[in-house]
Symmetry: C2
Subunit: 258 residues, 2 copies
DNA sequence: AGTCCCGTTGCGATAGCCGCAACCATAGCG
DNA sequence: CGCTATGGTTGCGGCTATCGCAACGGGACT
């Protein structure tokens, strides 16, 4: 029952409540497994099934989990849909999505909205390309910082000290032959991004896809939101990107975080 | 603390875990309030602030809540966005949204996907009309059963006994002059819906809007999903609806729940 | 420098939780 | 039809994790 916590900024260890932790573990287990039986959950959170029953029943009475009528299959309930939406609202995603639509119309390619989450970027919203062949990532997807346009543009919003710290601990795994894989090259790339106020990803994350990203925030201390437009490299080229960049920067000017 | 719910079977009262309940209360408070201070949450869940601190710290270490850098403003974290998405997946919403798109193209009007939640319908997905003037409800919105097309079509999927039970406890509040406000009229309306396999809402919920809805399920015991297309009454008329209904029924035939 | 206002911490008492083990309900099978 | 296996449900008593308390700390404002 130790709880050594490797948080980056904080080495503060306020005592954690194990019962709360179990609630979270149970819900996350159900979120991952779609459907599960009592014993599965009990094992996942490491308690006796009788206790798992009491936990799940409690959550059920609060609409956080559901039980099918055979009384053996648990799954997460619709209440959590509303909560997820509320979390999205908190990011002022609606504002970002409005901009994302304009961005999509500018490039013709799918636009993703991402936020930093740990040392990765989490996709929280999406506006699709109208074209049949398009690049789309599901909401909830997490991507690395070093091989995505949104990641690099986020890194560019960090003060130098923090940047060094983060880069230090990243695994610079090569996704494609062109992925940046050294700390020096990454920092250089980020410097360039800071200067021009947008980031480009030229087949560094996924072969055959090119992306351009900008960073925004809606209020001085609000969280960073990154917008990126991604398309197949055969029709969405480096040149295309450079052509639309002036209008892109104009579009997000009021909220630019760089 | 209501627990008089829609279960026809016996309502077992398994002992509830108060610590789990508090987790839920805290998260829901944050979901509702966008941002809150420690004491606010403490009061909301009825514990001493020291304990609220421990709870929130635990949840923070699990990415369920976030704390802004001033260390005084709590809000729900992005992890819950992913969980909400998982909850949506569980409903096979993607399948429903594919159908919803075809439905939208059929009517030209916005299509909403809803599920029953307690004695209301919860909007869980949406495909917008292309037209500038359109009717849209945010995901997460809850609407009454008696004054919406989705509500009526859901009621039509219930066996008679259960239908009576539910209708019994509904507040048949009049939203517009044409809202059905008596149990008898509602049951009759539902009978009609059962017979024709779709429901119509003719300005009964919101003045100036007309909707048509169908009920689906993707597997024998899966939850009911209701699809509705809603438009402004001046261009989306009763006649329009009757004209497209044959094609609509054909579209959802494989999944019809009625 | 003083004083609010809040978040944070250590501690002791005890409410609440947990595992146990027996009890049911259902489905499958000889 | 009865037997077994599987898996959910329940009452209970011991004990631990949790809670409130009260004192502390640190930032902001005057």
């Amino acid at each position: 029952m130790k709880s050594s916590n490797f948080s980056v900024e904080e080495i503060r260890a306020v005592a954690t409540l194990q019962s709360a932790e179990r609630v979270v573990q149970a819900i996350e287990y159900l979120a991952e497994h779609e459907t599960a039986r009592l014993d599965d959950v009990a094992q996942a959170i490491g308690v006796h099934k009788s206790n798992a029953l009491r936990l799940l029943s409690t959550l059920r009475s609060l609409d956080w989990v559901e039980l099918d009528h055979s009384r053996t299959q648990y799954s997460i309930g619709p209440r959590l849909i509303s909560i997820g939406q509320a979390a999205i609202e908190g990011l002022e995603l609606h504002k970002a999505l409005a901009l994302a639509e304009d961005f999509r119309d500018l490039t013709g390619e799918t636009v993703h909205v991402s936020v930093p989450h740990g040392d990765r970027m989490l996709v929280v919203g999406r506006v699709d390309s109208y074209q049949p062949l398009k690049v789309t990532c599901e909401v909830g997807t997490e991507d690395p910082l070093h091989s995505t346009a949104v990641g690099k543009v986020y890194l560019a919003t960090l003060p130098n000290g923090q940047l060094a710290e983060v880069v230090e601990r990243l695994d610079l795994l090569p996704n494609t032959p062109t992925t940046v894989t050294t700390a020096e090259a990454l920092v250089e790339e980020v410097e360039l991004t800071k200067k021009r106020r947008y980031a480009i990803n030229n087949e560094e994350g996924r072969p055959g896809t090119v992306a351009v990203a900008v960073a925004m925030r809606f209020a001085p201390m609000a969280p960073i939101l990154a917008l990126s437009s991604t398309g197949p490299s055969h029709r969405f080229t480096y040149d295309d990107v450079e052509r639309i960049v002036p209008r892109l920067l104009e579009l997000v000017e009021p909220y630019q975080a760089l």
